[in-house]
């Protein structure tokens, strides 16, 4: 041992001094078996021994040799065995630490997968919203044309205007439905009907053709539209998926609202069942008195095995935001563990702490803070997996009703 080596050691100063002191003195004067016994008596030792029984047994055997040799006055032998015991036990402890990291990694990867699914769903919603805006603009332009047709007192004008307005109203807050209307527009049913009516009105005005010759056309257009809706059904897989998931979540909602001491709401991310007062102040272990509520949620999850559940912990603002995040993370994990313990497939369950970032009530009032301290069990909306689009049943420019 030299100063040069010691100076390159980047560990804590006390460790350098300890090692240096031991080196200068040629090692401890006495055989230190106490260090091993203290490590072996630590609360974590049970887990270490359970995970690595062979290493633990090896360390114990070295320790027994050390004790025996020390009693017999064989100092060198005892010192050697004590050192082997400490080193072997330290390796086992480090291996257990590594297992903890691996478990955390699996959990993080699970969370990452869920977030990526949400990102995919959000991108779809965003794309649909943009497309819906474009379609709305097109529909409004058609309505303007139909309104202009009214001035000609053409009999198709009212029918077309009403049909188009109804479409816009029905789809105003529902991008999926508005996108469905695109099927109608893509076939130019309404546009064609409007164009025919406009041509009919123009011909009537010019006297080149009698008015109302084409008046049955709006009826024909509606029949074509119905036929198109039926034939185009397979192409709306995503909309159908949305409708199906809405029905599934509505079924869970119907059961969830009946849960005692729980709130249930249907949101974009899925169905949210909120429980409060699951934990005593500052604790991360479930209050045994509230275990029954969590088990009811677990039972709900088991009745709907196709839905994944993400447990989200929330709290009110604390001085230390990082501590609040850790607290909610631990609580969410504890609640998720309770779901798994109640029989829910662990592959369906994830947990995440949200800290105090997503309040649902005013944190300035006591009641608001109580409401914000909550655990949400989110029955996630399944992501849509697009299939290959079937070949169009329509030939452009052909008779759409064929």
């Amino acid at each position: 041992m030299t100063w040069r080596r010691l100076s390159r050691f980047r560990g804590p100063a006390w460790a350098s001094l300890l090692i240096f002191g031991a080196a200068c003195s040629g090692g401890p004067r006495l055989v230190d078996v106490g260090a091993y016994e203290r490590a072996r008596a630590a609360p974590t030792a049970v887990e270490v021994a359970r995970r690595y029984p062979k290493l633990s047994a090896e360390a114990d055997a070295h320790h027994a040799v050390a004790v025996t040799a020390a009693r017999a006055g064989q100092v060198a032998e005892a010192r050697h065995a004590a050192r082997l015991a400490r080193t072997t036990w330290a390796a086992a402890e480090v291996y257990v630490d590594r297992r903890g990291f691996r478990a955390r990694l699996a959990e993080l990867q699970n969370q990452q997968r869920l977030v990526e699914e949400e990102i995919s769903a959000a991108r779809t919603r965003k794309r649909d919203a943009a497309r819906a805006e474009e379609l709305k603009a097109r529909l409004h332009a058609l309505i303007a044309r139909a309104t202009a047709l009214k001035a000609t007192q053409h009999p198709a004008a009212d029918l077309l205007t009403t049909a188009l307005t109804d479409l816009v109203r029905a789809a105003e807050f529902d991008a999926a439905r508005l996108i469905q209307t695109d099927e109608l527009q893509a076939r130019t049913t309404f546009e064609a009907a409007l164009a025919w009516a406009e041509a009919d009105a123009a011909a009537s005005r010019s006297g080149s053709a009698p008015g109302r010759v084409l008046s049955p056309l709006p009826e024909r257009a509606r029949a074509e539209a119905r036929a198109l809706l039926t034939l185009a059904e397979p192409r709306w897989a995503e909309d159908n998926h949305l409708a199906a998931t809405n029905r599934a979540l509505a079924e869970v909602l119907r059961e969830a609202v009946a849960l005692p001491e729980a709130e249930a709401t249907l949101e974009g991310r899925g169905l949210v069942v909120t429980l409060r007062a699951l934990f005593r102040d500052g604790e991360t272990t479930l209050n045994p008195e509230r275990l029954a509520s969590v088990r009811l949620v677990a039972s709900l999850a088991q009745r709907h095995p196709d839905l994944r559940v993400r447990v989200e912990g929330h709290t009110d603002p604390r001085k230390d935001a990082a501590a609040a995040m850790q607290l909610t993370d631990d609580r969410a994990r504890s609640a998720a563990d309770a779901l798994v313990a109640a029989g829910v497939d662990p592959g369906r369950v994830a947990s995440v702490g949200r800290g105090a970032d997503q309040p649902v009530a005013d944190n300035e009032t006591r009641d608001g803070r109580v409401r914000n301290r909550r655990v949400e069990f989110v029955f996630l909306r399944p992501a849509f997996t697009p299939k290959a689009e079937p070949k169009s049943a329509f030939s452009p420019g052909g008779d759409p009703a064929r």
Binding site: R10, A15, T87, V94, Y95, D97, Q111, Q112, Q358
Partner: protein
């Protein structure tokens, strides 16, 4: 990190201890392979490299212990003390197992840190896609 792995793997191999074998498998490995003198030189070189390569205190302490054992081994050989030489050999093996465990844990911790960073970025992406209404 990689250099540390190489250090431990090379010296483990020299002591006939599979560097990536499980802890249980290592328990009964018998020291063979390179002559002990060469093993001690290797341990000294590896100890110095570990000290220079890693900022982690626990690995540094373990590397320092490795150097101390190498010194002890040289002294034992100089004295032709077979019993002490054998003791150093077994202590070296245990020390290398500890270093391998530390290295493995450090790699696992690094992967966790990477996953945490990726998750934070994914959540940011998600927030950017669907901004939440202010409470």
């Amino acid at each position: 990190m990689v250099r540390t792995s190489l250090c431990v793997a090379a010296l483990s191999a020299s002591l006939c201890m599979p560097a990536k074998a499980s802890a249980q498998d290592d328990a009964n490995a018998e020291p063979e392979g390179l002559p002990f003198a060469a093993q001690l030189l290797e341990a000294t070189a590896r100890g110095h490299r570990l000290l220079a390569a890693t900022p982690e205190a626990e690995v540094g302490a373990a590397a320092l212990e490795l150097l101390r054992l190498a010194d002890e081994g040289q002294l034992a050989r100089a004295r032709a003390d077979d019993a002490e030489t054998e003791r150093v050999r077994t202590a070296l093996r245990a020390q290398l197992r500890l270093l391998e465990a530390l290295e493995s844990r450090a790699e696992a911790a690094e992967r966790v840190a990477q996953a945490e960073r990726a998750l934070i970025q994914a959540r940011r992406d998600l927030d950017a896609l669907s901004p939440r209404p202010s409470p």
